[in-house]
């Protein structure tokens, strides 16, 4: 065993059902280094660190922490071994104070009484030492995301740890907060800690990490020193697969502008600005794809267009009409089809029948009845669509929740697309679907485009965007980084670089 290794993972494998999440992954963390783990969504980054933290038991492989080999690691054992973790989603109790949260479950107790003063002093010590300024007596609610993260880090540091794991710590932070976080991380490393850092943002990795390990669909691709690598090279390492085969589609013949988005600014529910001045338009007869890593403002943008989120500034126009901040019911009167990102929450009502689910999309259509519903007509319409969209597993009055994912999405498509809308907003239309269903969805979207609809596709699957779009926009950090048309698409590595925030220099 090499002396200065803090963590040594050897041949870690883990299966979830049919999916091989990790396959014989080796990973070494040296003492006093910041080691970034990068890879695409689903490459196994989070699974790997969860194995290290004992939240997941690997099927095979060895875990050695500080020279001690652990056969069965639990979170408790991991903490004892000196591993601390800051999760992507904070696990704090908003009503409790900083000190109460930091020492939750591990209070300093003397004679059955919690030693609050001692706890507070300990927090003050830690925060002074690492520049994590927080007041131990402030309750969590009302704190900014950055402050909450400090509390999480303090909680990890309150135990005697040697390794700190940060799962996408910068995703929720403002640039300023990121700078502060990095300063803290450098102090921790100077103090002898080792840090594992998961991030999608390449320029951050360049700034902070000493080495990177690239995971590709569950396998370790390479571990390299960061110095000497360019962002583009890292991006290439991350993607590094064959150019996807391009789905055949005819030359686009774009017509009038159907959707126009101008300088849109959006603030999300946490108060962070997620869309920072986005402008583009979608014409009839073309598919415009918006590609980007999840959480760069796509969801908020889609919600704003379909009336489910307010826009701070800017304009959204549909066929020349201003539809900025209109209500959902007003929007549904227009010929706009919406395929929402969260299928079970917003795409269907799993507890209602297929006919009811399909009808709810046209509640403004009075030919189905103004007050009293024409149930026969609704039922008949639904049955026609079940046939047309080949929805399977349907009995009399089947609840949508009883269908498979692909068939549920077909119900959404039947409701939203069967009326040949002029504009389609499709968010992650093939998420979680198998190959067959994905193909079906893609064919539907292309057919609409060939029938002169305007299609706006938002997807984190680069391949999906590439195979469907006539024009591609790349979003990063709430801004459109660059735009390509179908004939001038650079290779995926370059695209990924843009998706990860590399500036467009051309």
């Amino acid at each position: 065993m090499i002396e200065n290794l803090t963590v040594h993972l050897k041949g870690i494998s883990k299966r979830f059902g049919k999916k091989q999440a990790l396959e014989k992954v080796d990973f070494e963390l040296k003492k006093g280094e910041i080691h970034a783990i990068v890879g695409e969504n689903g490459a196994g980054k989070t699974t790997l660190v969860n194995c290290l933290f004992g939240m997941i038991q690997p099927d095979e492989g060895e875990i050695t922490i500080n020279g001690i080999r652990y056969d069965k690691l639990s979170p408790r054992l991991a903490v004892e071994a000196g591993v601390g973790m800051v999760h992507q989603h904070f696990k704090l109790i908003p009503e409790f104070t900083v000190a109460e949260n930091v020492f939750l479950g591990q209070e300093i107790i003397k004679n059955g009484i919690v030693q609050e003063k001692l706890q507070n002093r300990r927090i003050e010590e830690l925060s002074k030492r690492y520049g994590l300024e927080v007041d131990p007596l402030t309750p969590i609610y009302g704190m900014s995301v950055g402050m909450r993260q400090r509390v999480e880090i303090l909680r990890a540091l309150s135990k005697d740890i040697r390794v700190l794991v940060l799962d996408e710590p910068t995703a929720v932070l403002t640039p300023n907060e990121v700078d502060q976080l990095f300063e803290v991380l450098r102090k921790l490393v100077a103090d002898g800690l080792s840090i594992i850092f998961i991030s999608h943002h390449l320029h951050e990795i360049m700034r902070i990490a000493d080495r990177i390990t690239v995971l590709r669909s569950g396998k370790k691709h390479v571990t390299e020193l960061t110095t000497g690598l360019s962002e583009l090279e890292i991006a290439r390492l991350i993607i590094g697969r064959d150019q996807s085969q391009v789905l055949k589609h005819s030359e686009a013949d774009p017509g009038d502008v159907v959707l126009r988005v101008e300088d849109v600014l959006i603030t999300d529910s946490r108060g962070a600005q997620t869309v920072k001045g986005v402008s583009f338009n979608v014409r009839e007869g073309e598919v415009v794809g918006l590609a980007g890593v999840a959480g760069n403002g796509q969801s908020e943008l889609a919600e704003a267009i379909i009336g489910m989120r307010k826009v701070d500034a800017g304009r959204i126009c549909y066929l020349g009409q201003d539809i900025t901040n209109i209500s959902v019911s007003q929007l549904r009167e227009k010929e706009i089809g919406v395929i929402p990102e969260d299928r079970l929450q917003r795409g269907v009502n799993p507890y209602m029948t297929i006919a009811q689910n399909i009808y709810t999309g046209s509640m403004n259509d009075e030919s189905y009845g103004r007050i009293f519903l024409k149930l026969d007509k609704i039922e008949q319409h639904a049955m026609d669509l079940v046939k047309e969209y080949d929805i399977r597993g349907v009995d009399d009055g089947t609840f949508v929740g009883e269908l498979s994912g692909g068939n549920i999405q077909k119900v959404v498509l039947a409701r939203e697309l069967s009326s040949q809308p002029k504009l389609v907003i499709a968010s992650e239309p093939s998420r979680g679907l198998d190959i067959g269903a994905t193909e079906f969805v893609h064919k539907q979207l292309l057919e609409l485009r060939n029938n002169r609809s305007a299609v706006f596709l938002l997807s984190t699957e680069l391949e999906e965007v590439l195979s469907l779009s006539d024009r591609i926009l790349i979003i990063h950090g709430g801004r459109i980084m660059s735009e390509f048309d179908r004939h001038s698409i650079p290779d995926e590595a370059v695209l990924s670089a843009f998706m990860l925030g590399v500036e467009n220099k051309s």
């Binding site: 969260d342 917003r346 709810t360 009883e402």
Partner: protein, 349 residues
Amino acid sequence: MKAKTLLGKFETFISRSLPVLIGLVISFVIMLIISDQPFTAFVSFIGGSFFDLYSFGSMLSILSILLISGLGGMVALKAGAINIGGEGQLYLGAMTAAVIAIYLKLPAPDFVVTILAILGGMLAGALWILIPALLKSLLNVNEIVTTLMSDYMAPLLTAYFVNNVIRNPMSGNAETVRIPQTMQLFKLLPPSKLNISIILSILLLICLQIFYLRTKSGLKQQMVGLHPSFAEAMGVKPQKVIFTSLLASGAIFGLSGALVTLGIEYRFLQGFSPGYGSLGLTIALMGGIAPIGILWSSILYSVLLYGATKMQVNADVPFSLVFLLQGIIVLLVTSNKFNISFGRREKNE
């Protein structure tokens, strides 16, 4: 296909009836322990409503009230809201009906006054839930807490009025004077108190059944109740829908109270209700939040409530046994419900 649904129906029938049967067995065991004549007690309890026409009529008059209350509970539940304050709305409705019929001295024919009294009762019930409904839809304040609080206030508020403002000075009880006979609801089976409320209650049931199965507004109510985030995505505003459903629920409980005053009590009496309102929520839940189911569960409750009165007369078992039995049944029914809903949730994931 057909056989499957038939079997399914039989299964739901069994799973719905089983808790009642178990509850009855337990109550019989209790009677065996505490009573000297357990069989008389038990027979009166179960069959007391069917001994004679008078008993049957009395049971039906209770049924008309409980059915309406059950529907009142259902209307809120359909939209995903819980109105715990049914008893309070019922008290306000009952008192308002009495005030309109007795004290307003409206210059109108008697039957018009009766109708106005009924409408007034509904309005009072709706007003009593207005604040919880507004708080729920504007500020998302939990309606369970607010309706529960308003539920405590109503009997006390009405008690104040009936003791200090509208008390019948000739009576030893805290009650109003009697409603003129011409304004009382038409009796169907004298001398029992069965009156046209039973027809009203069945009409309301049919109307609600049609509303939820066949109208657009009914569908919207259920969309919000079953899956609010999807309703929102389809342009239905959950806050608005819940607001109307709570008001309607309050109005129906108010109706229930007005019908007690005009058809059974003929006056407003302090503390007159043996839980006509608070039973509404239980009956609605037991009936599976569906009109037909609620018909069955309200029949069950009426038979037991009236049977308990009989049992008290014929045997040495106290009326409060019915509440014990009620508790047991509700416990069994709700635990059964949880089972069903967990099964369904797993399927969806």
